[in-house]
Amino acid sequence: MTGRPLSRLSRFNVASLALGLAFLYLPIVILVIYSFNASRLVTVWGGWSLRWYSEFFNDRAMLDAAWMSLRVAAVSATLATGLGTLAAVALSRGERFKGRTLFSGMLYAPLVMPEVITGLSLLLLFVALNAERGFWTVTIAHTTLTMCFVTVVVQSRLGKLDRSLEEAAMDLGCDPLRAFVSVTLPLILPSIVAGWMLAFTLSLDDVVIASFTTGPGSATLPIRIYSEVRLGVKPQINAICTLVLALIAVVIVAASLATKLTSTRGESAAPL
């Protein structure tokens, strides 16, 4: 690695980097600190306390919503990872097949499509199909959105993979499917894991699409947080948010450890 010397960074560079990162992290740090505030008034410091956490664990409705969100996130992330990986393989290894342009268009568009449109269109579909709205409709909606992210993550890894590795496997007696399973799959596994993580956190985060596609009595955690937040800041929400952040942190750490174990030395385990 030929890093350029640090001295080439100007003061302006250092300042912009520091300010940029502070801007990204300070609000989150403040939120976490305030979640341990004993005072009911959110802005007055009343000493350290776990009061708001215990309140959350006694709030039946919030706990139900959290459980619902976790199930939706786990199931949709798993579905999305399977479908997204298949799509990435089709896009990066397929020659032109019929409707390839439409296929890639359908996979890239949801990445930037306003969520209100995606949510509305899926709801109208579910209504037309007369599907009962709840766990499965939200899960399907989240799978649709997140599999596109998985596709992009896995496809970029596949694109960087040396094609001659697959050729070597076939040269040594693998049929194309076997070559994929024994050589390609182990090498793209880190990106598949990263794709799952991304899908999981995106699902855990979504308010808009879930609001459209869920039914009465099956609100997800973000929907509940959102409706509470609209009414103003509550210390309990700080605690819930901190717990969600902790969960996401655990997922990221676990997945990057798994990535490190499965990837070969020297390969970066960056999740995107």
């Binding site: 050729e167 070597a168 040269d171 040594l172 693998c174 076997r178 070969t264 030395r265 390969e267």
Partner: protein, 398 residues
């Protein structure tokens, strides 16, 4: 062990791909490429190319980049399929088979070692696919590791190996299945010069020991000349010439081959009608614009055109201040050209001179530095006589 390998039978049963018919006759070459065409879009990468390669041969495909040599190699491996023509292995058409169905293995240019597998697992990869028994695999891997001298590195991952070691693993992996033909795509391109030379010698020794047919693709003519029994020179999807290294250098089939392989002086001219006074000597008289009259030994094949090109390798051109001494056996060195030395390049083993002839054309001469102190060295502005025998030059028609 070497003998064992050399005498070992062709691939044992599990390794042999689908049943193939027995050779029909003895005169069928191991590999016959018959009028093969490969197009990419409108571009003909390989253009009606035919070639026979015999069992146990070390064959090199040489050519500039984009000449189609790699495409040809990939068609032999099965990564590309010919649009037209046949590829026959022992008389059996393998042109449409998938790579894993062919008893042919390839050593990739960048080695393509599986980064997630150890050296041992890389070498065993093809054996496992062939359904070999576990104990046989262990034995074969050990044999291969010893063959390419990788002992002690079996457990390493590819990124813990040096460039030379990676090259050996790639070689062992490709040879482990005992292929009928080993294809090598620029096998030494990633190695530095010193390592390349020793590896060339090792590859040759290995090939001789195993008796496996090697087909190597390279753009490096020294490499091809050093290693190969025969060389096929390719340009624009066609074979320009297939010959031994010596033939290729001393008797190039065309002007293109003569210029591509090594260095050469070329003079265009017209063949004169036979002169009765010289009727005894089997030679042609060519009148060139730049080098005057040049006498050339009569080629074996009769020349059909009168407009030709006279070619002389620089090391065949001798320089002296006064021309060849009349009392030496150079008496027949009747080609004499006069000029002025313009450039001298000292290259260690040889020195090359550029001589500006009186006609204005430039002639290159290369002379071996056989003595440490050369009293005969020429410097720019020296007037010299350049001379060469009719046997040292040839006429090229194209």
């Amino acid at each position: 062990m070497a003998e064992e390998l050399a005498t070992s039978e062709p691939p044992s049963e599990p390794l042999a791909a689908p049943a193939r018919p027995a050779p029909v006759a003895d005169d069928i070459p191991l590999l016959r490429i018959d009028a093969v065409v490969k197009q990419f879009g409108g571009f003909r990468a390989v253009d009606r190319l035919s070639l026979d390669i015999g069992a146990g041969e070390f064959f090199a495909l040489l050519g500039p980049s984009g000449c189609g040599k790699t495409t040809l190699l990939r068609m032999l491996a099965g990564f590309e399929t010919p649009d037209e023509g046949q590829i026959l292995l022992d008389g059996w058409d393998i042109g449409k088979l998938l790579p894993h169905e062919r008893p042919v293995n390839m050593m990739f240019q960048n080695y393509a070692l599986f980064p997630h597998l150890s050296v041992r697992d890389n070498i065993a990869f093809g054996l496992k696919r062939a359904g070999m028994a576990a104990s046989d695999i262990v034995a074969r891997v050990a044999e291969m590791v010893a063959l390419v001298k990788l002992d002690g590195l079996e457990k390493r991952k590819p990124d813990q190996l040096s460039g030379g070691q990676k090259q050996r693993v790639a070689l062992a992996r490709a040879l482990a299945r005992r292929p009928r033909i080993l294809l090598l795509d620029e096998p030494l391109a990633a190695l530095d010069k010193k390592l390349r030379e020793s590896t060339q010698a090792e590859l040759m020794a290995l090939q001789r020991r195993l008796g496996t047919t090697f087909i190597v693709v390279t753009h490096d003519q020294d490499e091809a000349m050093t290693m190969a029994d025969r060389i096929g020179v390719m340009d624009k999807g066609r074979l320009e010439q297939v010959a031994t290294p010596r033939q290729l250098y001393e008797a190039p089939a065309s002007r293109w081959v003569a210029e591509f392989v090594g260095d050469i002086n070329l003079f265009e001219g017209q063949i004169e009608p036979r002169d009765s006074r010289l009727a005894m000597a089997p030679r042609l008289t060519v009148t060139t614009r730049d080098a005057g009259t040049v006498y050339v030994a009569e080629p074996r094949q009769p020349v059909t055109r009168t407009s030709v090109c006279v070619a002389i390798r620089p090391e065949k051109v001798k320089l002296s201040r006064y021309g060849p001494a009349p009392n030496t056996d150079n008496a027949q060195a009747i080609n004499r050209l006069e000029g002025v030395v313009t450039d001298v390049s000292y290259l260690g083993g040889t020195t090359t001179y550029r001589v500006k002839l009186d006609s204005g054309a430039v002639l290159r001469s290369s002379m071996a530095n056989t003595a440490r102190i050369d009293i005969d060295a020429y410097s720019p502005t020296h007037r010299v006589v350049a001379w060469f025998t009719p046997d040292d030059c040839l006429v090229l028609e194209q």
